[in-house]
Subunit: 205 residues, 2 copies
């Protein structure tokens, strides 16, 4: 069923993800049902460990690019025959607002700045030659409170060399009803500029 994922795919996935992604075309094609979103993903100039690849991610409305509504640090490693993207939150996210487009700012991000988010690792496998597919680890443990309701996160995403799509939803931890998220479908991003050359090979995937 699943194409074989190999250890070096950690670097390939990181290269495909590293960039400035926009869903402008989708927003234009479906007014008014998709906001115009930008996702900036960039390798940490000073990786926290030698294990795999460390990426900074920030997601923002295009009109509020310097005030992202989501930031994260992702450590991509190869284990359990798949790529695991371990999810870290930033203790002081505002310090790094805009850092996906400012490498000097991003260089200041160190181990002290982040804390691991349990239950929120994303499992990624190679679906075919052109595609990786991912989801949140099983167990419904990636929890967040939204509008006063405790929800668990469900993400399905797909990455190719130049595109990235993601369907994010939140379900009530008690009733399992959908509390928030897309009804109209996944966000579809296209890579507008690539930061793949900053992905350094050679450490342990």
């Amino acid at each position: 069923m699943t194409a074989l994922t190999n250890p070096n795919d950690v670097y390939l996935l990181a290269q495909w993800l590293a960039g400035d992604h926009s869903n402008w075309q989708q927003a234009i094609d479906n007014p008014p049902f998709f906001a115009h979103i930008r996702v900036g993903i960039r390798a940490l100039p000073n990786p926290i460990t030698d294990n795999g690849v460390w990426l900074f991610l920030e997601q923002a409305y295009d009109y509020e690019l310097h005030h992202p509504y989501r930031t994260a640090v992702l450590n991509l490693i190869y284990q359990n025959d798949r790529i695991e993207m371990i999810n870290y939150r930033l203790k002081n996210a505002e310090t790094f607002f805009g850092a996906s487009r400012d490498r000097d700012q991003l260089a200041k991000l160190d181990a002290e700045a982040i804390a691991k988010l349990d239950g929120c690792t994303q499992w990624v496998h190679r679906a075919d030659h052109q595609t990786f597919k991912g989801e949140v680890e099983h167990g419904k443990k990636c929890c967040l409170n939204r509008k006063g309701v405790d929800t668990y996160l469900a993400i399905e995403f797909e990455v190719t060399e130049n595109t990235y799509s993601s369907l994010d939803r939140g379900y009530d931890i008690v009733t399992h009803e959908r509390v928030w998220g897309s009804i109209a479908g996944a966000f579809n991003f296209v890579k507008k500029s690539s930061f793949s050359s900053e992905i350094l090979l050679g450490s342990t995937p």
Copy 2:
């Protein structure tokens, strides 16, 4: 069930609608599930007829304010014990892009510029002292093709003095399945500036 709608409510509804509306707060509160939308509604400086009130409407992504994805002319009249908002399309919409914020441009809009849209009249009644509620006329005849599928429009909206909410959806004319529509519920707009003083009373409501 329904509070009594009276003929002069045509003017009151028009005054409440006339303005520059934004859902910025909603977009900020629910990232990334609501695009930032602006709706500009303004009285025609040269009404097409003396019957009721004539409004121009344009709806745009905030980042594309001068390239609205929807334009319309609405004639609000009192008939059948309710307010009816008769919907006209612009034959050359681009000529009037931005006209809700440019009264000189809007003054050029005349009877030749518009064509009535059958089946797309909106029926509005007074729900209570503070609120009007509306919907598309019954009959499922307000059709539009979206992504290659013929759909009929369903709109539910609510207007108060300073707010305006709208839930727009399209259903397949054959299967009645929802084809497009709101990701996460109604759009909620707040009036940022009012053009109510341009609503002229005294003609036939």
